[in-house]
């Protein structure tokens, strides 16, 4: 019910946040607090200090840059869900952000906190992987950029260093492609039991359009987001509908492997068995939004 004692610092800038992180080993960054504060109250996290970055204005922006999107780490789920730029260039992300938790969570929770926390049941990691996002981070060793596919390393584990701060998420424009996110949400927590993000490009053939390129990632039932390359392979050159789509979606079993998560509400077996349905629906929704090149 009550967090253990901790020291509290508020950073005014990215630079100050970096200094405070270096000065206080073991300190935790505090963004929207919607993952960290529950852990503190349950005393599952007992950091000596919190560094509040919630008011660092430079981390808030959502902007179009070089044909892609740059989303500041502090952009909230609600801001992302209603951003015209995100809806146009990364519809799947807006769709996923709009389905997170409930309005209170979406108004406080940030994209940076969401991915840094790397909860396997989070929605955004799979989306960022499917959309080929890169994450800009800064720390004592300077700035670097990490592919979303390399960022998530396990249950609540990332390649972010102890002293590093995530500053923004960059997403290449998906212009012409269709993207979508389909979610099976847990009725209590609202987190993803299964979440599938898809980005699909179609050709403009004379007959039935076929998929020229697909990028699909799944989360919720695995320790970290999984890129579904078997599904993508099976889809290439095929129509994203009917039997062909069903067959491609079924290939997700190969991508998932055997290490599935389950709980009292939905066992690992069940999640694995119905995962193809969600893969199929995500691809169909994405294809429906793709303009034929």
């Amino acid at each position: 019910m009550f967090a253990a004692d901790f020291d509290y610092y508020r950073a005014g800038s990215v630079a100050e946040a970096g200094q405070l992180l270096a000065q206080h080993p073991g300190a935790k960054l505090l963004a929207g607090g919607h993952s960290l504060i529950p852990l503190l109250k349950l005393r599952l996290a007992v950091p000596p200090a919190l560094i509040d970055i919630g008011r660092v204005a430079e981390l808030r922006d959502i902007a179009l840059e070089g044909g892609g999107l740059r989303i500041g780490a502090l952009a909230t789920h609600a801001e992302i869900a209603r951003s015209d730029a995100v809806r146009e260039h990364a519809a799947a992300l807006a769709e996923a952000a709009g389905q997170i938790g409930d309005p209170a969570v979406r108004n406080r929770g940030t994209i940076g906190g969401n991915v840094a926390h790397a909860d396997p049941a989070s929605d955004l990691p799979a989306v960022l992987v499917a959309l080929g996002a890169t994450l800009a981070v800064t720390g004592q060793g300077g700035e670097r950029s990490i592919d979303a596919g390399d960022f998530f390393t396990g249950v609540m584990m990332t390649s972010l260093g102890e002293d590093e701060l995530l500053t923004s998420v960059r997403i290449p424009s998906a212009a012409g492609r269709g993207t979508a996110y389909v979610k099976f949400s847990h009725p209590a927590s609202r987190y993803a039991v299964i979440g599938v993000a898809a980005s699909v490009a179609l050709d403009a053939g004379p007959g039935e359009s076929v998929c020229t390129d697909a990028s699909v990632a799944i989360g919720g039932l695995v320790p970290g987001p999984v890129r579904c390359s078997a599904v993508e392979e099976a889809l290439k050159g095929r129509a994203p509908s009917g039997e062909a789509l069903a067959a491609a979606a079924a290939a997700v079993a190969q991508d998932l492997g055997g290490d599935l998560l389950g709980d009292v509400f939905a066992s690992a077996d069940y999640r694995g068995a119905v995962a193809p349905v969600y893969v199929e629906r995500a691809i169909a929704a994405a294809a429906g939004r793709a303009t034929q090149a």
Binding site: M1, F2, A4, D102, F184, H186, P187, A188, S189, D263, V264, F265, A266, S267, Y270, A273, V274, V277, Y278
Partner: protein, 793 residues
């Protein structure tokens, strides 16, 4: 306006303070010198305590005291059980406020820390060392009743043996010849059998429980602020447990943020808080955390039911036979024994003519949180049995479920109908309710649509419930006969001030239902004052008259009647005073809309405000008439009231994933004349949704060792608005013949009806897939597995 105020949709006067956060809850009480308590819950389902060391905690910063069962033993009496079910071999196990030797569920209190701040108290909990020797645990009530199951209690409070964890064995009275009915049905009819699990539910009131206790050593007076639904009962129980005499004990229920039954019981932590306040001579506050609420505040339901229905081949019900194992949890909570018995078994014949009926209920101790009343309390579990069996009968006979119901309904009656369980229903038109529902929803057309088959792998299902429930508890004579350790009347004091403003003091204790509004409407409509001029006081045992509390949909049905009668007494007196002032004889006086006037000459009139002034100044009053304008009534109802209705749920089941979507819901409820239809609809909305929660999402899950797995809102799925369709709420109006206002109750109706309606709808959708039963809650995985099994894969 006054004559139309009864039945008008005025806004709830409670809402501004609730919405703006200015309401004062137990947690908001601050007193000079107050310290804070935190309870150490054992965390074991069943274990022997071998050692407790508190020294470290005592030395922790801010800590004022640490107490264990050694301190409270003999000082606090065991927790009383207040529903002594007769003829049921009731065995009440000792229920200490703080466990000293053995703990029997994870929420058992083993120690309390009192500190200067709540934070410090919680910090110090971690420093108490307790060694436990784990004992085998059992959660499932049927398993707990089996030979060889772990035994929770050796002896009851009288020193008699408790065996097989059996707390009681109750059999429903009355009943016709059940064996014969089944023999005949076996020979030349149909017998339907089903096993129903009414899973454990966690009530989840928005406000958790809490208490603040202040003891004055000089006067020996104790004040207890508590999140209770029934402050007067709590005062009595607190007196029994703490020894503080009732006259020196004041219980205040400030704003209470919902209860749903979970705030009826008295709890050990309340009295431990009192104990600390008395020991320390400082006010002590204890506020339950949400996790603690899940572990220690009473749960609901938890029945394992084996049920059988006998019928003729043309669909006429001839008998019902049930065996129920009702989990009671580790101890018998305050009213627990009456819930799965009196409030359940007596309602088993529902809206139907059932000539023969028998039910055996075994109340069983288990290592779960104690089970108590939870919205509907026994009646949802009865309605479900009947409504499920009726649907199964329809399926067996190839009849429409609506037609089987129509065939078996008790015909319309308006002044009493005795059923097989000996209850005398007051009034009802069950066929009328169902036919209005069918017509309103276009039921037959929906069936047509369903016959078109699934679209996109989605199967449509329709589920009906026809229900009647018992509420307005109840005649005190009956309360005595069924072992309830109290009366069930209500009282009201109505006081007119000189300016014509009214204060009403009631013993009932609303906590979210809106009776401050509806009670003001009753007064306004009975005596023609403006509703704004009526103030309702409740919840403080020092200022309100005795009353038995708010539960069992009884506050308006019983308290509202007391109030109406008190106002009518005032009207009678006011008429006498008005006649005197107008120099007319009382027989010549008429009353309308707040005015007393001489028959035939409406200009010769006195308003109720004129009379209030003159009665209060008392310059001239008729001979023998006392000064003041005030009345008190005690209303002991002559019978229960029996609201009823019919609900329809429409669902779509995604056969590929097992997802159920509730796509439509219509509730028709008849609670008699509605004082405020908006408030009635609000009660129906909330009630329906809670019942849908049981069907689709909610369920307390324990693991093998007796740990609650669904111990937080992260895992325990409460219904949310975005999972629900718009609820279509309609009504019929059948007054209760014996009630001064004709009103029945509506607090629990929605819950009583909706679980079965939704369940029936899902089973209806799954019929083409060969699925006939799935345990609740109907989670996607359970539905999906049932489909897989039925399809043989």
């Amino acid at each position: 306006m006054s004559s139309r105020i009864f039945g008008s949709r005025i806004r709830r006067r409670e809402d501004p303070r609730l919405i703006t956060g200015s309401a004062v809850y137990t947690g908001d009480i601050e007193l000079p010198g107050m310290v804070h308590a935190a309870m150490l819950r054992c965390g074991h389902a069943h274990a022997r305590i071998t050692r407790i060391a508190t020294e470290q905690a005592e030395a922790a910063p801010g800590v004022v005291a640490v107490y264990t069962g050694v301190d409270t033993d003999g000082v606090l009496q065991p927790m009383p059980c207040a529903w002594l079910l007769p003829d049921a071999e009731l065995k009440i196990a000792p229920y200490p406020c703080i466990a000293k030797d053995v703990v029997r569920y994870t929420g058992d209190v083993v120690a309390v820390v009192v500190a200067e701040s709540a934070h410090e108290a919680y910090d110090a909990l971690d420093l108490i060392e307790v060694d436990y020797e784990p004992l085998p645990a059992v959660i499932d009530p049927e398993e707990a009743a089996r030979a060889g199951a772990p035994e929770l209690h050796a002896k009851d409070i009288n020193g008699d043996d408790i065996s097989g964890n059996q707390a009681f064995h109750w059999t429903v009275a009355g009943g016709g010849d059940v064996e014969l009915a089944f023999a005949e049905a076996e020979a030349d009819g149909v017998v339907i059998k089903e096993r129903i699990l009414q899973q454990r539910l966690i009530p989840n009131a928005m406000e958790t429980r809490g208490a603040v206790a202040q003891y004055n050593r000089a006067t020996g007076e104790l004040t207890l602020w508590n999140t209770t639904q029934n402050p007067h009962i709590l005062r009595f129980l607190c007196s029994v447990v703490t020894g503080v005499p009732e006259d020196k004990l004041r219980v205040i229920a400030p704003e209470v943020g919902g209860g749903f039954g979970s705030k009826i019981a008295a709890y050990p932590a309340d009295f431990v808080t009192v104990f600390c306040a008395m020991r320390l001579g400082r006010p002590v506050k204890w506020i339950e955390s949400r996790s603690e609420n899940y572990q220690a505040t009473t749960h609901g339901r938890d029945h394992v039911q084996d049920v059988e229905l006998a019928a003729t081949k043309d669909g006429r019900i001839t008998g019902l036979r049930c065996t129920v194992y009702a989990g009671m949890g580790a101890y018998l909570s305050t009213a627990a024994p009456g819930i799965p018995t009196i409030l359940h078994g007596l309602m088993l014949s529902g809206c139907y003519t059932i000539p023969a009926l028998k039910e055996d209920v075994y109340g069983v101790y288990t290592n779960g949180v104690p089970v108590e009343a939870y919205r509907g309390a026994g009646r949802p579990e009865a309605t479900f049995i009947l409504e499920r069996l009726v649907d199964m009968l329809a399926n067996r006979l190839g009849m429409d479920p609506a037609d089987v119901r129509i065939k078996n309904f008790i015909p319309k009656f308006d002044d009493g109908h005795e059923v097989v369980t000996t209850l005398n229903y007051d009034s009802g038109d069950y066929p009328g309710a169902l036919s209005k529902l069918l017509e309103h929803t276009g039921y037959r057309a929906l069936r047509e649509r369903q016959r078109a088959g699934p679209s996109n792998g989605k199967y449509m299902g329709l589920g009906l419930t026809s229900y009647v429930e018992i509420c307005g508890l109840g005649p005190s004579q009956v309360a005595g006969a069924i072992g309830f350790q109290g009366g069930l009347w209500e009282s009201a004091i109505v006081r007119f001030h000189p300016t014509g403003k009214v204060h009403v003091f009631i013993g009932a204790s609303p906590h979210g239902q809106g009776e401050e509004t509806t009670f003001a409407q009753i007064v306004a409509s009975e005596i023609g004052v403006d509703v704004a001029d009526v103030k309702i006081f409740h919840g403080d045992t020092d200022s309100t008259p005795m009353g038995w509390g708010t539960y069992g949909s009884r506050t308006t049905a019983v308290g509202g009647a007391a109030l109406a009668l008190a106002v009518r007494k005032i009207r009678d007196k006011a008429k006498v005073v008005a006649a005197h002032l107008l120099e007319a004889s009382v027989e010549d006086m008429d009353y309308e809309d707040g005015k007393f006037f001489v028959k035939g000459s409406p200009d010769r009139a006195k308003t109720i405000q004129d009379v209030a002034l003159m009665a209060n100044v008392a310059w001239t009053l008729p001979e023998g008439v006392e000064a003041g304008l005030e009345a008190t009534t005690f209303y002991d109802p002559p019978n229960f009231v029996f609201p009823y209705g019919a609900h329809l749920a429409v669902v779509e089941v995604d056969a590929r994933t097992g997802h159920v979507e509730l796509t439509g819901y219509t509730a028709l409820d008849d609670c008699g004349p509605q004082i405020n239809p908006t408030i009635v609809e609000g009660q129906v909305h909330g009630g329906v949704v809670q019942g849908v929660g049981q069907a689709l999402w909610e369920g307390a899950a324990y693991d093998e060792s007796g740990q609650l797995v669904t111990g937080s809102m992260l895992d325990y799925a409460l219904p949310r608005a975005d999972q629900l369709p718009d609820l279509d709420v309609i009504s019929t109006v059948t007054p209760s013949p014996h009630h001064p206002l004709g009103v029945k109750g509506v607090g629990e109706a929605g819950t009583i009806a909706s679980t079965a309606a939704v369940y029936n709808a899902v089973m209806d959708a799954l019929r083409p897939l060969g699925v006939t039963r799935v345990d609740m809650p109907l989670t996607p995985e359970r539905v999906w597995r049932a489909i897989q099994e039925a399809q043989g894969s």
